[in-house]
């Protein structure tokens, strides 16, 4: 029998229990972080591997999103360019434009007269001298046609192209959307690729964390045995390993964000120079706060699940001998 009855007065009552539980978890989380930082080299290695694995899909995602923004800003570009015969005057071209405006297929029809086209050309560097040599305007009048969204699909565009080609005033028809549509399809493909890559590398992260935790369980098997001998519950023994997994995930996610942000900052200058060559501005977008939260939450969950698997597989094997 016990020498003294257990001190019931010291035991936490039911109201204090959640608080005690919470403070125990906070202590456990902090202690685990302290242990990870106590072995900085091993921790940095694991975290870096997770960070690089997660940075790859994140970077591809950033690339895809930026290209999508770029395409979005081109939606205003002419879908179909109608080049009229050169002997069609600007006045006659305006009549054609008026007729086409009656077509339900078009949202907007814009006339670029021969004179206007010549004026625009003169403004472009290098062309002024060349054009000064010419006595007549070599440029035809052009109609820029913007189809309604319902008609901005490849089949309809081809149909329109054929019908427009039959107009007597038309020299030839150029469809500008073709490559845009193809580009859109490539973007969709790359989005799928991001998901696939993310899935693949996420399972990689599970394995990395699982293996790290497995080694840690092996290294501390003596301690685990003693804890079992003195009456530690399975959840008490599991807890520090689960926290370690969550920390690995969180720190890995942070380093992935850091790597991607570093890359975006590094590319900002070259992209701006490239955009300026196209007489355009294109601010490169990095990872937003929502995306950062997604990465951190996802990586933490991955770490937790990875360590959970390792703990359930390997802690059973440690029995006091």
């Amino acid at each position: 029998m016990a020498r003294r009855p257990p001190r019931r007065s010291r035991a936490p009552d039911l109201l204090q229990l959640p608080q005690a539980w919470l403070s125990h978890h906070v202590q456990s989380a902090v202690a685990t972080l302290g242990r990870l930082l106590g072995a900085p080299l091993a921790t940095v290695m694991t975290v870096a591997v997770i960070g690089i694995a997660l940075a790859l899909p994140a970077a591809l995602y950033v690339l895809t999103e930026n290209l999508r923004n770029l395409v979005g800003s081109w939606d205003q570009a002419a879908a179909i360019s109608l080049f009229l015969h050169r002997d069609i005057s600007d006045e006659e071209a305006a009549v054609v434009a008026g007729r086409l405006r009656e077509w339900p297929e078009f949202q907007r029809v814009q006339l670029i007269g021969a004179e206007q086209a010549l004026a625009e050309f003169r403004e472009q560097a290098g062309f002024a001298e060349a054009l000064a040599q010419l006595t007549t305007n070599p440029l035809p009048a052009v109609l820029a046609l913007f189809p309604q969204p319902a008609y901005a699909v490849p089949a309809e565009i081809l149909n329109l192209q054929e019908r427009l080609g039959q107009l007597s005033e038309v020299d030839f028809v150029r469809v500008d959307t073709q490559w845009l549509l193809r580009f859109q399809a490539i973007l969709d493909l790359s989005q799928t690729l991001v998901l696939l890559l993310a899935g693949l590398l996420a399972s990689g992260v599970l394995l990395i964390v699982g293996n790290t935790i497995r080694l840690e369980i092996q290294n501390r098997s003596g301690e685990i045995e003693i804890m079992e001998l003195v009456g530690a519950t399975a959840s008490f023994i599991r807890r520090p390993f689960l926290y370690a997994g969550a920390w690995y995930g969180l720190l890995g996610g942070l380093s992935a964000w850091f790597l991607v942000t570093l890359a975006v900052l590094g590319l900002q200058g070259p992209v701006a120079r490239l955009a300026s060559l196209y007489r355009s501005e294109f601010p490169l977008a990095g990872l937003g706060p929502l995306e950062l939260l997604t990465i951190l939450g996802g990586s933490m969950l991955l770490g937790l699940v990875g360590s959970w698997i390792a703990v359930n597989r390997h802690l059973r094997g440690v029995e006091p001998g």
Binding site: M1, A2, V230, G231
Partner: protein
């Protein structure tokens, strides 16, 4: 306190470690368990601490049939049983204080109460001044006393010791047994496996003798 009812323990590779062992131990008793190496002393203690389960028969501790105890309840059973080993089983990278505190920490006790109880236990074994030392800095006798402090710090009603003085000289052994006597005097049930016949005879307690897995002699109390 402890009842063995026709208990058998068979290992596939070694055969029967215990054969048809039955006995009953009252709360507050102090019992020596003796016999040659391999006679089954450790196995008997391991069954009580639920480090193993019997092949046949029933072990009842504190009114609970251990055979029906669910896996998840084992930790709570072990908290009622303080265990002492010949090789101390201390954590080499933890201080004396941390080693002794372990049984309290796993119950979720607050740090102030842990500190108070650990110092009380270290005081009982005369190691209060060594609380910051690592186990390697201690002598064999001191390490064993740390192991004893760890076994009693949570005030379990039952303490098991497996060859606690196996590696100690007679003077240190006597000190350890004096500690056990003191626990006995305050009502702890003790079961001590030992070879040390001289001490057994000097102390006049009930003694179980095991031979080849059988309980061959149960000397009554003096």
């Amino acid at each position: 306190m402890i009842r063995f009812d026709h208990v058998w323990k068979r290992y596939p590779e070694r055969g029967d470690a215990l054969s048809d062992v039955s006995f009953e131990l009252q709360a507050g008793e102090m019992v020596f368990l003796t016999g040659h190496s391999g006679a089954g002393k450790s196995t008997l203690l391991r069954l009580i601490g639920l480090l193993e389960r019997p092949s046949r028969g029933q072990v009842i501790v504190n009114g609970r049939n251990l055979a029906t105890l669910a896996r998840g309840r084992i930790p709570y059973h072990r908290r009622q049983v303080g265990m002492i080993f010949q090789d101390h089983r201390l954590l080499p990278d933890r201080s004396v204080f941390e080693n002794v505190a372990l049984p309290l920490v796993v119950t979720g006790l607050g740090p102030k109460e842990v500190g108070r109880r650990v110092r009380a236990a270290l005081d009982q074994v005369g190691l209060l001044k060594r609380e910051r030392a690592l186990p390697v800095a201690l002598s064999g006798g001191e390490q064993q006393r740390v192991g004893i402090a760890r076994a009693v710090v949570a005030r379990p009603p039952l303490v098991l010791a497996d060859e606690p003085t196996g590696n100690l000289d007679p003077d240190l052994s006597r000190e350890i047994f004096e500690l056990f006597e003191r626990f006995h005097q305050v009502g702890v049930t003790l079961m001590i496996a030992t070879h040390d016949l001289a001490l057994i005879h000097a102390l006049h307690h009930r003694t179980f003798t095991l031979s080849e897995g059988r309980l061959v002699n149960d000397s009554g109390d003096d």
